[in-house]
Each structure stands twice: as structure tokens, then as C-alpha cells.
Symmetry: C2
Subunit: 342 residues, 2 copies
């Protein structure tokens, strides 16, 4: 059933039917009701392609997921972020389009999206320190919101981010307050903006406490279980090793635990661990009592916020970029304890 048929059965023009259905005021309430009922009865659904063509926008939001050809890894927080954003899209009547693309082709995809009118806006995932995508998109005039930030970017843009500096500062401070002085960090890849900020927060806390941070206590790499395991194992291999570590991801932390178990060290007694906890639905950090002491910020919530901001931006063209800085909560669990006496 299409508009024409519906309008014919109703004995009205397409104009009136369209207006009745789209809530325009210039149609009598009685008529509107009649039209709505008929639409329901005959299961009329406007053709989306035709609507897009006529309206000039797609009510679709794009997420482009770059897949680096070396790593071929999909960020595990992605599923939860999408779930959060998706909730909001559904509520606001938007569709979500996902594109998996080799990272070197990402800009090309944006151009295509823009000029084909595929999407009304995009969410940018996993920004680097100086991410070329941001000026590029700003230039394209395609509305976008970044999940994270790009430190070296001067042009203003909209973003949703966790206060990573502060989160790692607090985590480190907490360990220091427990008497730890040799503290390691197992971080993400350092060209990723979030990892850079986390390192920064950690270093600031160490410096303020007058502690030095041995480079052999640092690790930066993709945040997989294996890498967490390797990093911890490597850190332990040095004669003088840390009594505590802060870890950038819950998944890496699982590897860290494995390495500690293997070395016969008890988490929270021999080595304290604080993890960053994205509050993933399938990796809850305990329920009432947390397993790990953690700095927690829900990535799902970040997804919701990003979606809301982007929709606002799309529906209010010309509105200035907005930001949202989420504070991570420091949650005390069983993985931290006083520094062991030497």
C-alpha cells in the first residue's frame, strides 16, 4: 500500500494524507484521525527511499569502524557503545548504519557518505592524538561527534569523553596512599588519545608524590588478554618490580591476573591492581562487591550521550559544538591492599 492508493481509498489527495500523517496543522483533526486509522488498518508505511529523496535527508547515522590491517581487531567496548547509541536512535526515529573499513580508506568513505546523502551525521570512534579525521569532517560539513578527544586538534568539535587524566591520577594517588611507591602502568597504544591522557595522569600523580617511574614498568599495546598477560610477566621479570599496577582495560586485567597467578603472587596482597572498567555487560566487575578496585565509567552511557548530542546537532544545524566530560568513579574492590613490607 502506498500513499497514492491510501489517498484514493480515502477519497483525499496525497497532500492531505501526507500532511495528516506528518502532523501538519493545516488539516482538520477529524480528517487526521480518519487518515491515521486507515493507515493503521491497511498497514501503510511510507517508502523510506522516497521519503529521503523528497526530504533531502536520510535520518540515518553512520558509525565507521576502522579495521587496521595489521591488528584486525574490533574494539570490544564497541558493542556496548553501539547498544547505548542504538537505544537513542530508535527512540528518535533514526537508523544506524555501520561501515567496517580498512583504516586507510576511512576518509573516502566519509566523502561518499556525504555526497551520496547516505547519512545525516557520523560518530567517530577511537580518536588518535592528532586525528586527521576531525579536521577532515569539519571541512566536509558533515555533523559528527567524537567518542574521545584528539589532544592536538585546534578546531572545535563535539565530543564525549571520560576524564582519563583525572581517573588515572586518582587511581595512582590511591595506590600511593596505600603505601605503594613502585607502580606500573599497562596501557593502550600510545598514539591513541585516551592512552596518552591516562599515562599523563599516572605520571602527574607519581611526580607530585616525588616518585620516579621506571620505564620497565610501563607497557603500551593493544588491550587484549594476551597483552595484559605478557606485559605483567615482563614487568615481573625485572629484579625490582612494582608492587602495584594500573591497567587500562578490564580485558587486559584478566591477563594480568593470569600472569600473577602463574607467578604465585596474590592479587591485592602481593601486587595491587586497579583496572579501568568500561562497565561492559558481559564483563561486569562483580556485582555487589567489586572484584577489582576500578575506575569505572560506562561506555554504554557514553554511547547514549554521543547519540543525543549528534541528533541535536543534526536537528539544529549551525549550533555550536558541545562537549561532555564524564568523570570516572573510583570503586574499591578486592584487588588492592597496603604495599607489602620488604
Amino acid at each position: 500500500m502506498n500513499l497514492k492508493q491510501l489517498s484514493e481509498t480515502l477519497g483525499l489527495s496525497q497532500t492531505t494524507v501526507s500532511r495528516a500523517l506528518n502532523g501538519y496543522p493545516e488539516v482538520a483533526e477529524a480528517t487526521r484521525l480518519r487518515v491515521q486509522q486507515a493507515a493503521r488498518r491497511y498497514g501503510y508505511q511510507p517508502n523510506i527511499g522516497a521519503q529521503r529523496l523528497a526530504r533531502g535527508h536520510s535520518r540515518t547515522i553512520g558509525h565507521v569502524i576502522p579495521l587496521s590491517t595489521q591488528h584486525e581487531m574490533v574494539n570490544p567496548v564497541f558493542a556496548d557503545f553501539i547498544a547505548g547509541a542504538g537505544e537513542r536512535y530508535s527512540a528518535a526515529g533514526y537508523d544506524m548504519q555501520l561501515t567496517i573499513v580498512e583504516d586507510r580508506r576511512e576518509e573516502e568513505i566519509y566523502v561518499e557518505m556525504k555526497s551520496q546523502g547516505k547519512v545525516d551525521g557520523v560518530i567517530v570512534h577511537g580518536p588518535l592524538m592528532d586525528d586527521p579525521r576531525i579536521p577532515f569532517l569539519a571541512d566536509l560539513a558533515l555533523p559528527f561527534v567524537v567518542h574521545g578527544r584528539a589532544s592536538d586538534c585546534k578546531t572545535p568539535y563535539s565530543w564525549v569523553d571520560v576524564n582519563n587524566v583525572r581517573a588515572f591520577e586518582r587511581a595512582t594517588d590511591f595506590l600511593i596512599s596505600l603505601g605503594h611507591s613502585r607502580i606500573g602502568i599497562i596501557n593502550g597504544l600510545e598514539h591513541m588519545d585516551f592512552a596518552h591522557r591516562r599515562l599523563h595522569g599516572y605520571e602527574a600523580a607519581m611526580f607530585r608524590a616525588g616518585l620516579t617511574s621506571d620505564p620497565t614498568w610501563h607497557y603500551a599495546g593493544e588491550m587484549t588478554e594476551i597483552n595484559g598477560y605478557r606485559a605483567m610477566k615482563d614487568i615481573l621479570s625485572h629484579p625490582v618490580h612494582p608492587t602495584a599496577v594500573v591497567v587500562s582495560s578490564y580485558i587486559s586485567t584478566l591477563g594480568v591476573r593470569r600472569a600473577l597467578d602463574e607467578a604465585g603472587l596474590k592479587v591485592g596482597r602481593d601486587v595491587s591492581v586497579i583496572t579501568f572498567d568500561d562497565d561492559l555487560s558481559y564483563l561486569r566487575n562483580g556485582e555487589d562487591i567489586p572484584i577489582y578496585t576500578a575506575i569505572r565509567s560506562s561506555v554504554r552511557q557514553a554511547g547514549r550521550l554521543s547519540a543525543d548530542m549528534l541528533i541535536h546537532q543534526i536537528e539544529n544545524p549551525g549550533s555550536p559544538p558541545t562537549n561532555h566530560l564524564l568523570e570516572a568513579a573510583l570503586i574499591v574492590g578486592g584487588s588492592t591492599g597496603p604495599a607489602p613490607q620488604e
Copy 2:
């Protein structure tokens, strides 16, 4: 730049330009070349909405992710499946649309997709034993491929699935061959079809070996880390407990390990563990040497296959449903060993 403008600058009709660009034979090669060059030069991209309207299909494939209101959990294998499917969509010129929806509204979404012409086909995730979505979609005449199967469904349909029965049979057989006789299973929710099959495979192997399976050695629940931990802890709480377990997910296995560590039991010596390994990019089961003995089948590969099958089905309407049964490999790692002597 749109078709009209492009054709005007070229001094050709829209027809010819459209045909040249879409590879129709009735245009001179020289003209085609000229058109293609001009299109590139001016960055012409056909408007997607217009194309859809004119062609009558959307070149979009839908994935609807049901979010059960109780659990609110996004299946972690989902990201990898999507990545695999997404590769193929890109290559074939299809877009991917994701919809997050409360499970009770799922059918409504399908109707909408179909009648609005939003998508040309859909992938069905996480089928239940007797999944109402399958007859529903078959009825709708919307092409679809199921990732998994629905045991109780009589109408034929296309699916891609792992041979879950055989995988768990082999895993159990392997444990039996190592001398284990008390073997537990930590499974997914049993109304999920895959979990049902896995249980079945496990039971078949036990039965064939003349072993009985104590119900206190069984667990069925959402496959999170926490649940793995709880399940293992619970299993260990009984005076006579299993010396080996098969676990339905890598993530649960991480919880299982935690419970074993906490109990002072060594994986592979005191308790043998075999896990199902979806070969997730962020949770690799070791690299050269596997951490866990596992039955492995790449969910990403399943994504690729599903996408290929669906595209084929869309482009060849009326072709009969096809199936693809993947065999999981049994990979021996360090988490299994001979049954401990009592």
C-alpha cells in the same frame, strides 16, 4: 554535482551518463571513459535515496539485535561477527544497518523494514530452540539467514552454524580419553538453540562411555565472566566434584579460572578445562601455543559466510535456502591433563 549537471557539462543525456556509469553495453567505450573521467573529476556520487527509489531496492542489509529487557546484555561475539559480515558487505556494495530493539518488539521491526523497503534482507542472531522469528520472516518473504539454527523449526531456511553437538561430543570424548569420569558442563541459557545442542553432545559422549552425569555438575546461564566464576565455585562446593569441565564460552572460562585459582586448584592438573573458543580478536586463546584446550570456530568467519549467503539469496530471488555447517577444531592447549589419581 548531480546526474543532470554532470550530463549537461558533458553534453550528453542523463540516460547515457547513467548507463555509462552503470556498465550497460549500449554505450560506446570512448563515451564511457569520458563519462567516468568526468564523474571522477567532479566527484559525482549518485544520490542513494534516488537510486533506491528508482531501483526499488535498498542494497542494505539489516541486523537486528534484540536486547532482552532483563539481561540488557550485548553478546560479545557480536562485534566479531559484524566485522566479518561487514567486510563482505563492503566488497559487494551493500550497506549494513543495525537496529537495537527490545526483544518483544522485534517482529514489528521486521514488518517495518519490509514494508518501508529499508533493507533487502536480514541476519537473525541468537536463535532459540523454537524461534518464532523464523516462520515469521519466511512468511514476510523478506530474505534472511540465521546465525545458528532453531531445532524445532520445520520450514526450511538458510543458516550458518557450528556443529555444536559434535564439538561438545569431541571435547567430552577427549576428556574421557584422558581418564576423567566426572565431567561438568558450564553452558549458555538452555532455551538458546546452541546451548541445547552442546548439552546434547556432552550427554551423548557421557552416555556412550557409560558415565553418569550428576545434575550438580551442570550450569546453564548467561555466558559472562561472573557466571563462569559462580558456576565453577558452585560446582566445587559439592563434596564429590568433577575433575574436568567443558565451558561454552571463553569469557565464562576466565571466570572459571578465577574460581579455580581462588580454590587453590591448578588448571590442567587438578581440574581440566575445555572451552569453546569463538576466536575473538581481543580474546585470542594464546598465539602459537594455546592457553586452553579448546573447540574453536571463528565467529568472524561465520559472519563472512552468512553475509555471502544472504547476498546470494537477495540477488537470486527464488533460490532455495542453503546451509553451512562449520566443524569446530579441537585444539590441545595447557588446560587439560590426565585425571588426577584419587
